[in-house]
Symmetry: C2
Subunit: 407 residues, 2 copies
């Protein structure tokens, strides 16, 4: 029996840990022979671009290094499968690849778009009488998948955000003149990652003084009022804002690239610079915007050990579910308790997750829509716990380097 693993969507710190989980479970399972990696997600299955993972991941040291290497070792894609009824060609190509290499199980590690692939491909295979199984393993720093308590990758991103915002708070408060620092945080149309900056309260930080999420209405006028009010109380005001906050303003577009990916998602960054200009124009004080940018999803040097451990476990569980005969399912975390923290790994129909977004709960947003309530803190705390003992060489983390044929 052979298996294939693919990684898809935006990179995270934990997506390679899930790959390691599937791989290790594969090694432990006697009836599994070859373990293939599909290059660039589903594109590798369509184009028959597979690599023999056992020839690349030779030692336990390789696996440990890969676990602590950010991004997707196998490459990624943003390819959206067409409808199988109207355009079966792509599916026939995938089936051909699967059959050529006698693959019985495919594990797809990805976000909500990737679960769309799991749904479509598993249903095509079933309809065509194949018993090849497809199982989805979640990942995304956005934490916006329904059903699951949280997504692998989110804990590390939240830890990066909290650690970095705390350092920016120190940096922002040195001068005697009043200032505003605006920190733009990822998360697409959900506010989970930005909201996680409320974690700093457990270390007695007052900032961020204002937190704006896509789930609350935003008005430029109220923003300026909020900032003025906070400036009366604090010399250095720190604002956390989600990239996905929608401002009804032409001005914003000047700060955005306007580009979209194949799923039609617009690249969202730009609101930090927009609000910076707004503060300059309306208040005229010292202001700086900081975009945490891709560092939020690739700073494995400060990743959450809980996140990496869970990412590996949910990968293992995905392969076990497929071995048990399941297909078209996505693995997920169910939280049993906050303190002591405990989760179980379950599975759900990938159709319950595909193309959907889980919003940050409105009951955890203050009525003014400019802060997160303390009630959210116990949710976030366990996800950022623990540090990974990163392997260093020459003062730098050592990454697992992709084999040359993949460059």
């Amino acid at each position: 029996m052979n298996i294939a693993i693919a990684q898809s969507g935006g990179p995270t710190c934990a997506i390679n840990a899930s790959l390691v989980g599937v791989f290790r479970q594969g090694l432990l399972t006697e009836k599994i022979d070859a373990i293939f990696g599909s290059v660039n997600g589903i594109e590798g299955m369509i184009g028959d671009e597979l690599i023999n993972l056992k020839s690349i991941l030779r030692t336990n040291e390789d696996l440990e290094l890969l676990r602590q290497t950010p991004s997707t070792m196998l490459g990624s894609c943003r390819y959206k499968l067409p409808d199988a009824e109207t355009d079966p060609t792509v599916y026939e190509k995938i089936l051909h690849t699967l059959q050529t290499h006698r693959i019985d199980i495919m594990i797809y590690i990805g976000g909500n778009d990737s679960m769309d692939t799991v749904v479509k491909l598993s249903s095509y295979l079933k309809k065509n009488g194949s018993d090849i199984r497809v199982i989805g393993v979640p990942k995304t720093i956005d934490n916006d998948l329904p059903i699951t308590d949280h997504t692998p990758g989110f804990g590390s991103a939240a830890k990066y955000v909290a650690v970095t915002v705390q350092e920016i708070i120190r940096d922002s408060s040195v001068y005697s003149i009043p200032s505003v620092t605006i920190i733009e945080i990822m998360g697409r149309h959900s506010g989970w990652l930005t909201a996680s900056s409320c974690l700093l309260r457990v270390n007695d930080e007052e900032a961020p003084h204002l937190i704006y999420l896509p789930e609350a209405d935003f008005s430029a006028e109220r923003f300026i009022e909020d900032v003025r009010r906070e400036m009366a109380k604090h010399k250095a005001v720190v604002v956390a804002v989600s990239e996905g906050v929608s401002v009804d303003a032409e001005g914003l577009e000047a700060f955005q690239s306007g580009a979209t990916d194949v799923f039609g998602h617009k690249y969202l960054s730009g609101i930090g610079k927009y609000l910076e200009r707004l503060v300059v124009d309306k208040i005229g004080c010292k202001v700086r915007s900081v975009e945490l940018n891709v560092m939020q999803r690739c700073s494995t040097h400060i990743c959450s050990k809980t996140d990496l451990d869970e990412a590996e476990e949910i990968g293992q569980a995905g392969l076990r579910a497929a071995l048990d005969g399941h297909t078209g399912m996505m693995m997920y975390f169910r939280r049993v308790s906050n303190a002591p923290y405990a989760v179980t790994i379950e599975m759900t129909d990938a159709g319950n997750v595909a193309n959907m977004e889980k919003k940050f709960p409105s009951e955890w947003i203050t009525p003014d829509g400019n802060q997160v309530t303390d009630a959210a803190i116990p949710y976030f705390i366990p996800l950022i716990q623990g540090e990974v003992d990163i392997c260093m060489k020459n003062g730098l983390p050592v990454h697992f380097q992709r084999p040359l044929q993949m460059h």
Copy 2:
């Protein structure tokens, strides 16, 4: 005998370590009684805003936490002392503060602008028959001070840059389509910090494929040619560019705030976004710009142990020099050897450093002006070595919190 310490200029990861060095040396020196901290650099001396550091830094744990807290605990300033001949009022105020608190020694931790303060104040005091001594302790992430081999704060910034650029390299290379990632790095008009990204070669990274420094001529046309050439060789091209690279283009100003500080330094950021637009317009491929922003100077969670240790030692040495009767001097590092790494701490007239910039050596820039030569690597390597065992609580670094009266 009483002493005062002040911190000035832009924050770094190591400026509090130098404060700890002076403080610890003060504790060790029997004849020293009170150790004052001046709030917001020289401003605190002018306005008689001093705090008794012994009442704030009570335990060794306080000192260890402060050592690993970024930014300047005492606050900072960008205040430029006027000429003492034409405007003696400010000097009289400082002298009054010094005399009121019977301060015999003042240690000023700062960059090239701060050394201007050391020169002016020490010469005013000498001229007026005072034997109060003023000693400068260097700091800046820009590494642009003459005389000294390197500046405290630079090693940690260089380590942050190298670690982060390596992670961005992983992040940037996941998709199958060609892409360009432009990383904008601080350093003002010198290229030291951007150049330090060449360190990744010791870990077998090929990227950054192009490195642009202020010390080399820059042309938008040649930049596009360079990018095209690298794109023919690499799927994911990574470019490191100094904020201070001067482009002769009106377009850049749209991406800059245009603001200046009191020393007349223009805020430089914006070239990353400018080059991003240029690549979109001229090449039309996927492109992203990433500004490392203030994280370069405050990410103590990944600081260089060598840097923090040296910052503390040079602070100690500064106080010892003052106790020996020196004034108007700046402490500096002289490198004895690269491997094994060894430096000595010396002193020089602060006038040799004030208001001057040390450029990145032209012999370490390739003739095309778009890369750093391997000859630079042995200079950088020792500066980023070692990790500090950061004190963590609730999954987050613990910072030394400034006393409430300073907020």
